[in-house]
């Protein structure tokens, strides 16, 4: 770990004015600092600035950025109105990590690409322009959607997949003191030629909360995660899905995929295909196939194409109450 300046902020404004890397649960930042993958000159502790409330608003829930993953997952309103979010959070990490990891930190979680974490290999995300050893290397855990020739690192978060399907909106405070709202689909950037640019945030901007619409759709949402072991494993493929049915016919559907994209993966055209269709496995499979169009598997992850489709069908079936 390199030397850094440590500052403890007492308020949101103080935090954004401090111009440093924000430290909340530290489950990602401290880990990557120990590996010297991330080397901030200044770390700003934001654990004392509030922002940990989960509140009901007229049309949804507003979740403070410093609410822990456990607090959100176990919150009665979240379980009742946004079940996919609760399920996604509980499927991630371990109880010890969830007890300290925060919503804001989870939104900005870094990839688990083994090359990103290993200073003995090349990585464009870690060291722009150095090259990518992953693309022709061990790609089993890597993305099949949204990659570029510079980076195929998979987005690791489960929570973000649920938030993507539920069309959450992230609230951000800038250094000028003003707030802006950012749809979650716009928060994470595709790697393109600049995999080191991961978020649509300015350097001092702080996520203060995330708003999740509590729609009838969201109340029937589900999260499915396929992984190599039953706990403490990243998704091979996952899917958050929400379906509203009327007389056996889909009124509206949303779904997003995890473990397969360089960001939480949502394909609105695939969702639209379901509207007006009978809620059955055949229709779900068609939508799944559409969502995986353009997938670019590498040497060790071709299986993810089929696995992801099956995860979509399972999640949609569960959300729609159709027998799996």
């Amino acid at each position: 770990m390199r030397l850094f300046i440590f500052q403890r902020a007492q308020s949101v404004d103080e935090a954004v004015n401090a111009q440093g890397a924000f430290l909340a649960g530290g489950t990602s930042l401290v880990d990557l600092m120990k590996l010297e993958v991330l080397n901030p000159d200044k770390v700003v502790d934001i654990t004392r600035i509030g922002l940990d409330k989960i509140q009901e608003e007229a049309s949804g829930l507003r979740i403070g950025a410093l609410a822990t993953n456990t607090d959100v997952a176990e919150h009665p309103l979240v379980k009742q109105k946004l079940p996919a979010l609760s399920e996604a959070l509980l499927s991630g990490a371990s109880p010890q990590l969830r007890n300290v990891a925060t919503v804001g930190g989870n939104l900005l979680q870094r990839t688990r690409c083994a090359y990103y974490r290993d200073l003995g290999t090349r990585c464009n995300k870690r060291e722009p322009g150095s090259g990518c050893d992953a693309i022709d290397g061990w790609t089993r855990m890597h993305a099949i959607l949204g990659g570029s020739e510079q980076c195929i690192a998979a987005h690791p978060s489960d929570m973000c997949v649920a938030l993507a399907a539920l069309e959450a909106v992230v609230r951000v405070r800038s250094a000028t003191g003003s707030d802006r709202d950012l749809p979650i689909a716009e928060l994470h950037l595709l790697p393109g030629d600049h995999p080191e640019r991961e978020f649509a945030l300015q350097s001092a901007e702080l996520i203060t909360s995330v708003f999740v619409p509590a729609t009838p759709l969201a109340a029937k949402s589900r999260y499915i995660k396929v992984r190599d072991r039953q706990a403490y494993a990243f998704a091979l493929a996952s899917c958050a899905a929400a379906v509203e049915i009327d007389g056996g016919v889909v009124k509206a559907a949303r779904f997003a995929l995890g473990g397969v994209g360089t960001k939480p993966w949502r394909v609105p055209q695939a969702e639209a295909m379901l509207t007006g269709q009978r809620a059955d496995k055949a229709a779900f499979a068609k939508a799944a196939a559409r969502a995986l169009e353009g997938a670019q598997p590498r040497k060790h992850n071709a299986f993810k194409v089929e696995l992801a489709k099956r995860a979509v069908v399972r999640a949609l079936s569960l959300a729609a109450g159709v027998a799996t």
């Binding site: 770990m1 390199r2 120990k34 010297e36 371990s94 688990r112 083994a114 090359y115 974490r117 290993d118 200073l119 003995g120 290999t121 050893d133 022709d136 290397g137 061990w138 089993r140 855990m141 396929v226 992984r227 190599d228 072991r229 039953q230 706990a231 403490y232 494993a233 990243f234 091979l236 299986f303 089929e306 696995l307 099956r310 995860a311 069908v313 399972r314 799996t324």
Partner: protein
């Protein structure tokens, strides 16, 4: 009063969970500096230059030691196997990825880590290979080491080709197991303290203080007595701490060079390569049986990998020699050399990987013959050793089959699968040698009537502090709380390596003999109360195997049964239930023995479903190099695990009547699970681990 076999609680349990037990790195040593290794990024080549200037400028950095400035060792740091050839900064060769190439020493751990990361190694890479398949044409035979003796690479009986022709059905298949790494919770760690220019004390996380002592004495050209090695608690080892690897010598070298005590622990990613692991294996099986299920041929040819500079043979084909009655047997071991760190013993080396192949092939054969897989094994039950043609010292495998099958409900029909799931059941045989090696112990009566028993073995989670005291107390006719056992110090009576399921049998026998010798003295003085007046009073025990080992085969046996649930859409497997029944001679402590077996069975789940040290073949580097990427079972992956004992009398195996239980728990588990997966899905997975992608 019963004592032996009693489920007495682990004496060191409280100290371990409260932190009072000091593991190697935690021993308080005033003035110690912190050392962190720099390891190679390439798999093969030569160091051209090492730039240490940035590291040396950092505050608190005491030294950066590289092959350029490292002290030249006065001696060769190499002993006979199981010692390993090490890389200790004496030359510029790079022989595998993650090889130690330098060490940074600083006044704090964090500064040492940072300094190590600032060291720039400029190396000239040479072409490498880390793929077993690429070297098969260069495979060569090599003898094995087992139970302290040499075992020939090949053994045959009869005519396998003829046996295969005679069978009503035959199975010829290739099975593969991947490279795996031990990853005990406590990484390797060493503290080296030079108490005088020619006197060295080392606190090491090791399975054998005497081997560390000999190696360091040789490397630094010291009399053995000048090196003291202490290991009071070891946080798991499973074989990887059976040899003193490079970092142990480097810690002592750094301490000598900086003239300070030095603490060196491996970072978790440094556990992948430089400290051994289970080598990848490729195993060709050919088995045949009559229509009734009597084996007519068992051929087990295995190829495993070793490094370019040392030899370790994974004895995967050994069980074929001793387990089943067949007139025709052919067991062969071949090695290939790869640009990897030297592999080493990993829990049940050979037996665990080999039983996956052999017991899978037998399941395939039973399937073809349409007979119960348990019936197939009973038809070919070996009443005597099929290769040696001599008796077993004891064998209760039939009782294991019966008990395991009864507890599991093998003869009942399968329970219905939960909705949307597939349910399958499978079984396999487990076997592991009842090893015995020379061991010494001492028992001393104190004036207060308590007894101290000592031997330089290792507490590695095995319950040694508890179980050895139980043995001594039993022989002395004392309650266990009156007896204390001490261990883990090279100044104590010499014990063999705490590995290979050797210790309970060997040290247990020495302790028994020491206690008996002391009791004779006590009795001669007219009993304990009188003997106390003459305390301290000592008894010595020396146990060693004799000629009986040439006339008898000594094996612990077991039967494993697994029930799995498979999600057919996702290919995910859960092991709903594992039942194992084991016969390993005398059970010394039902509680610690059960823990040993359970630990092995749980590891079997990991071997079957999870463990894989994945190489990036272009880089020649293991990329699953932390515990997020290198999977072992999580709590949620472990459902019902039920070990049972079959009590067994064996007066010939060793004085303690014990066949060690350290390894047998894992044997056969991967096969039982793979067989259950086949039973559930109709898919035969012959390459471990059974990950979801293989079942899609």
């Amino acid at each position: 009063m019963k004592n032996i076999g009693d489920p007495i609680e682990r004496r060191d349990g409280r100290d371990k969970v409260t932190g009072a037990a000091h593991y190697a790195y935690e021993v308080p040593v005033p003035g110690a500096a912190y050392a962190v290794l720099v390891t190679s990024n390439i798999a093969k080549g030569r160091i051209v230059d090492i730039d240490t200037s940035a590291a040396e400028k950092e505050p608190g950095v005491i030294a950066v030691i590289t092959p350029r400035n490292a002290l030249k060792l006065p001696g060769e740091p190499h002993l006979d196997p199981p010692d390993r050839v090490v890389q200790v900064l004496q030359d510029d060769r790079i022989l595998f990825s993650n090889q130690p190439v330098a060490v940074a020493v600083a006044d704090t751990f964090e500064r040492a880590v940072h300094a190590a990361l600032l060291v720039r190694v400029h190396a000239e890479a040479a072409p490498h290979t880390v793929r077993l398949e690429d070297q098969l044409q260069n495979a060569f035979p090599h003898e094995l080491m087992g139970g302290g003796r040499k075992i020939p690479a090949d053994e045959t009986r009869g005519d396998v080709a003829k046996g295969l022709r005679e069978g009503a059905q035959t199975v010829e298949q290739t099975y593969e197991t991947p490279p795996e790494t031990h990853n005990p919770m406590e990484p390797h760690a060493t503290i080296a303290v030079w108490t005088a220019p020619d006197k060295l004390t080392v606190y090491d996380s090791t399975q054998w203080v005497f081997s560390v002592q000999r190696k360091l004495a040789k490397a630094f050209a010291l009399p053995k007595e000048n090196v003291r090695v202490i290991a009071k608690f070891v946080g798991g080892a499973f074989g990887c701490k059976g040899s003193a690897w490079s970092h142990v010598v480097i810690a002592a070298l750094a301490a000598k060079q900086t003239q300070r005590p030095v603490k060196l622990a491996l970072m978790r990613p440094q556990m992948f390569g430089p400290v051994g692991g289970r080598p990848p294996t490729r195993q060709k099986l050919a088995v045949a049986a009559t229509a009734k299920g009597k084996l007519t041929a068992v051929s087990h040819h295995t190829t495993s990998a070793t490094s370019q500079f040392d030899v370790f043979v994974e004895g995967s084909a050994l069980q074929a020699r001793h387990l089943y009655a067949s007139p025709n047997i052919d067991s062969r071991h071949r090695l290939v050399r790869l640009d990897i760190g030297t592999p080493t013993f990993m829990r049940a080396p050979g037996e665990s990987s080999g039983s996956f192949a052999l017991e899978s092939a037998l399941d395939e054969l039973a399937e073809k013959l349409k007979i119960d897989p348990l019936q197939l094994r009973l038809e070919s039950y070996a009443e005597q050793d099929p290769i040696e043609q001599h008796p077993f010292s004891s064998k209760s495998l039939k009782a294991c089959y019966e008990l395991g099958a009864a507890r599991f409900g093998w003869s009942a029909s399968k329970r219905p699968a939960p909705p949307g799931m597939l349910l399958g059941r499978g079984m396999a045989t487990a076997a592991y040698p009842g090893n015995f090696a020379p061991a010494q112990a001492r028992a001393r009566l104190n004036p207060d009537g308590t007894v101290l028993v000592e031997s330089g073995m290792i507490e590695v989670g095995n319950g040694a502090y508890t179980v050895m005291a139980q043995i001594a107390a039993d022989a002395l006719g004392l309650p266990p709380e009156k007896v204390r056992f001490d261990l883990g110090d090279s100044t104590l009576p010499e014990a063999p390596i705490t590995a290979g399921s050797i210790s309970s049998a060997s040290v247990g026998s020495a302790v028994l003999m020491a206690a008996r010798a002391l009791r004779e003295k006590i009795d001669a003085l007219g009993g304990l109360e009188k003997a106390r007046q003459s305390a301290p009073l000592e008894g010595e025990g020396k146990a060693a195997p004799g000629e009986e080992r040439k006339k008898l085969t000594m094996l612990g046996h077991g039967a494993q049964f697994a029930e799995v649930l498979v999600d057919p859409d996702f290919g995910t497997v859960r092991v709903a239930r594992l039942v194992g029944a084991f016969a390993c001679g005398r059970v010394l402590n039902a509680r610690t023995a059960r823990s040993q077996l359970m630990g092995g069975m749980v590891w079997g789940i990991g071997m079957a479903l999870h463990e894989h040290a994945v190489y990036d073949e272009r880089l020649g580097r293991i990329m699953s190099r932390d515990l997020a990427d290198y999977h072992v079972p999580s709590n949620k992956d472990v459902m019902e695990v039920e070990p049972y004992f079959v009590e067994e009398e064996d007066a010939q195996v060793d004085p303690a009547g014990v066949k060690g239980m350290g390894e047998i728990g894992i044997c056969g588990v991967a096969a039982a699970i793979a067989n259950a997966v086949f039973n559930a899905t109709g898919k035969r997975i012959r390459t471990l681990p059974i990950t979801p992608d293989k079942l899609l």
